[in-house]
């Protein structure tokens, strides 16, 4: 048995060596204009050889290993259990969700400033991922330029505040609507395209937006970005130590408490929390509305849906626009949180991260996406020494998910009616 695989196993191990040894085993070092080549240290080379050996052994005993894996019983025995009744499950779910939101409301008052700041970032990613989930997960349109809408939201707020002095609360709807408008205008011609062409066109669009932001120096400041973006205010109360704008009062003076930098951080966190919950709820409603059903129907079978009278353009366009709207939302919050934005923040990699979140969480599933957003943002912070491996692991995880579990870690559970069992 193993003898038959020997040639193949040897070949695979050899290929492993070829693709890893030249790139990992030699280090190019630039010294001025001269480039020198040094060999990697012994540990690295041993690791490369070890990897080749592992590949060799795996391929050699492939049949046995795969056979053994098949015989191992699946750890979860959910498959045989009766599914929980729909209304009961929904009730439990809503209780748990309410509990989590209440916990999230009070949590920032007891932890450090850094964690609250990180949590705000997580919430922004949750908003983005929920928005992209509509486009990719529900409507099945692969959008690789999603970050463009995020950029539109962020730059709208930055430019409006810089040139017109508009505050966060006014910029929030404007930014989101403008992003939605961009989505509408871009989507209208593009949505006739098939899946993979659409992906490339959106990718091109994202790059065009970034290049424009980078080069339109007179308006956007080019690579230097825009700074001094104001913080949000609470009914005209500012969170800074001193008041920046005429007519505003300051938060700590109004309530007669000592000034603390944490107030602003917590306030931003709470705004993001409210907006993220709002995003989740709105999208949840959409999913149950006819338009939401139409998204999924079109994703599953375009020809069948069209012959049933669904307008392809209208349905896809609505998904695209709604996705863009929430990206604009997230962008505005992001601009306000950072206080400074530049085209650096809106590169393709960012789109890929958001896509990875949606894919890992399970396309279409809201809870899955939220959990994935938390995991993807927090895990690199917890394991700082591995943070440079973050994108490497992302890429590998995306491939592995597609190979083994394309429905994601927590796939969407479809609301369905089951026929009664016939005797």
């Amino acid at each position: 048995m193993a003898a038959k695989n020997f040639g193949h196993a040897f070949f695979c191990a050899f290929i492993t060596l070829i693709i890893s040894y030249p790139i990992i085993g030699f280090n190019l070092e630039a010294q001025g204009i001269d480039v020198t080549l040094t060999g990697a240290d012994t540990t690295t080379i041993v690791l490369v050889l070890l990897a080749a050996l592992v590949v060799f052994l795996f391929q050699l005993f492939r049949d046995q290993i795969m056979g053994a894996l098949k015989r191992v019983p699946m750890p979860s025995s959910d498959a045989n259990k009766e599914p929980m009744a729909e209304n009961k499950r929904a009730k439990i779910e809503s209780w748990i969700l309410t509990g989590i939101v209440v916990f999230a409301l009070f949590w920032p008052f007891f932890v450090s400033r850094g964690s609250v700041d990180l949590a705000t970032l997580v919430l922004i990613y949750i908003m983005l991922a929920l928005g992209l989930n509509v486009v990719v997960g529900l409507a099945g349109l692969l959008d690789l330029g999603y970050v463009a809408f995020y950029a539109v939201g962020a730059y709208t707020f930055a430019l409006l505040s810089q040139y017109l002095g508009i505050s966060f609360w006014l910029a929030l709807p404007i930014g989101a609507l403008l992003a939605a408008l961009f989505g509408l205008v871009l989507g209208f011609p593009v949505l006739r395209l098939r899946g993979d062409y659409l992906a490339i066109v959106t990718l091109g669009f994202g790059e065009i937006i970034r290049i424009l932001l980078n080069n339109w120096t007179t308006l956007t400041g080019g690579p230097n970005g825009i700074g001094g973006i104001p913080d949000p205010t609470l009914f005209g109360m500012e969170f800074g130590r001193r008041i920046k704008e005429e007519g505003n009062t300051s938060f700590h003076e109004t309530f007669g408490i000592a000034y603390s930098g944490e107030h602003k951080v917590i306030f931003l966190y709470l705004i993001s929390l409210v907006l993220a919950v709002f995003t989740a709820l709105v999208i949840r409603r959409f999913m149950r509305m006819p338009v939401g059903r139409a998204w999924e129907a079109l994703r599953e079978d375009e020809i069948a849906s069209r012959s049933l009278g669904l307008s392809r353009t209208a349905v896809k366009l609505s998904a695209f626009t709604i996705g863009a709207f929430f990206a604009g939302f997230a962008g505005t919050v992001f601009a306000s949180k950072q206080g400074f934005i530049s085209p650096e923040s809106f590169v393709f990699l960012e789109s890929a991260i958001i896509l990875a979140i949606v894919v890992l969480g399970g396309m279409g599933s809201q809870i899955g996406v939220v959990l994935a957003a938390i995991a993807v943002t927090i895990l690199p912070e917890l394991a700082r020494e591995f943070s440079e491996y973050r994108m490497l692991i992302f890429g590998a995880a995306m491939v592995l998910m597609m190979v083994w579990r394309p429905q994601g870690l927590m796939p969407m559970r479809r609301i369905h009616i089951e026929l009664e069992k016939q005797e």
Binding site: P22, L28, V35, L144, L203, I211, V359, A397, M402, V403
Partner: protein, 307 residues
């Protein structure tokens, strides 16, 4: 006369870049023609080819080899071997298991692979760009010494000639050899080819290997032409090459060559007459416009939607 010289200069620059785009575009178009997926990681394979060539060149310099043809050939062969192995492995690991599933799944897998490879090189070789020795110096110059001088450098001639050799070789391979005939058969009808006794898995692997080897050639040539490489080197070039493939009609090999040349010339005219910063905008806009108005490209066949 000045204007004509300036124009010819842009034309030469455009054709140089365009012919390398065409080399990379072959990989996209052959894979698309056979299994109908966009090999998003192809740009990264090209980048790995460039890195391997640089490693080989530096290694030879350390060993004291100074004879140019040896350096070039060794670098080329090393780059082609590593890139081909990479192309083979990528297909095996990331694409074969998901073949035939919903359209988006192979594409997402390919994006994951692209990110993985980018960071693989980033971690192993650092994120800074590294100077690439140009090796082939010198140029022919035309025009008066006080006005604008058109230059045709030796490296540009090398790029033309190498591309021409590769393209001719590929055309002969596809039209004459047994494997080439099998490739054409598989791209026409995969299932039927399988029934007729063609090992389709082997042919698909061969397609990836050929595409990767040509991308490695482009990697070495463009590395010398631009004078530096970095881990993000492949992303934009891959996107441009994909644009070229779509422009010519994806799935069609002559289309990829034509598309590459048109795109290269268009780009260099933009940077010559308008502004260098916006040349990427032009090529992406071109891509969007073609996909909107003529998705089959210049030489592509219309795709029939089957129920």
């Amino acid at each position: 006369m000045q204007d004509l010289l300036y124009f010819s200069q842009q034309l030469i620059n455009g054709l140089t870049i365009g012919s390398t785009y065409a080399l990379i575009a072959i990989g996209y178009t052959m894979v698309y023609g056979i299994i109908g997926m966009i090999n998003f990681a192809h740009g990264e394979i090209y980048m790995i080819g460039a890195y391997t060539a640089l490693i080989a060149i530096t290694g030879l310099a350390t060993l004291g080899v100074a004879w140019l043809p040896v350096i070039l050939i060794v670098a080329l062969v090393c780059a082609m071997i590593v890139s081909s192995a990479m192309g083979w492995a990528v297909e095996r690991v990331a694409y074969r298991p998901v073949r035939g599933r919903h359209r988006l799944i192979p594409l997402i897998s390919a994006i994951g692979m692209s990110i993985f490879l980018q960071n693989y090189v980033h971690l192993a070789q650092g994120s800074r760009n590294i100077g690439f020795p140009s090796l082939i110096e010198g140029s022919f110059r035309f025009g008066s010494s006080e006005g604008f001088q058109m230059s045709l450098s030796y490296i540009q001639i090398t790029i033309f000639v190498t591309t021409l050799i590769c393209m001719t070789g590929l055309a002969l391979f596809i039209s004459r050899s047994r494997t080439g005939r099998a490739c054409r058969a598989v791209s026409q009808d995969l299932g039927m080819a399988n029934l007729l006794g063609i090992d389709t898995n082997r042919i698909i692997s061969a397609t990836f290997v050929i595409g990767a080897a040509l991308a490695a050639v482009a990697g070495l040539l463009l590395g010398m032409y631009y004078g530096s490489v970095d881990p993000l080197f492949g992303f934009i070039a891959g996107l441009k090459a994909f644009t070229a493939a779509v422009l010519g009609g994806i799935g069609s090999i002559p289309g990829a060559m034509l598309g590459g040349l048109i795109l290269g010339v268009g780009e260099s005219m933009t940077s010559g007459y308008l502004s260098g910063e916006y040349k990427d905008v032009i090529s992406f806009s071109l891509l969007i416009l073609i996909l909107l108005f003529k998705p089959t490209g210049l030489l592509g066949k219309p795709e029939v939607e089957k129920i």
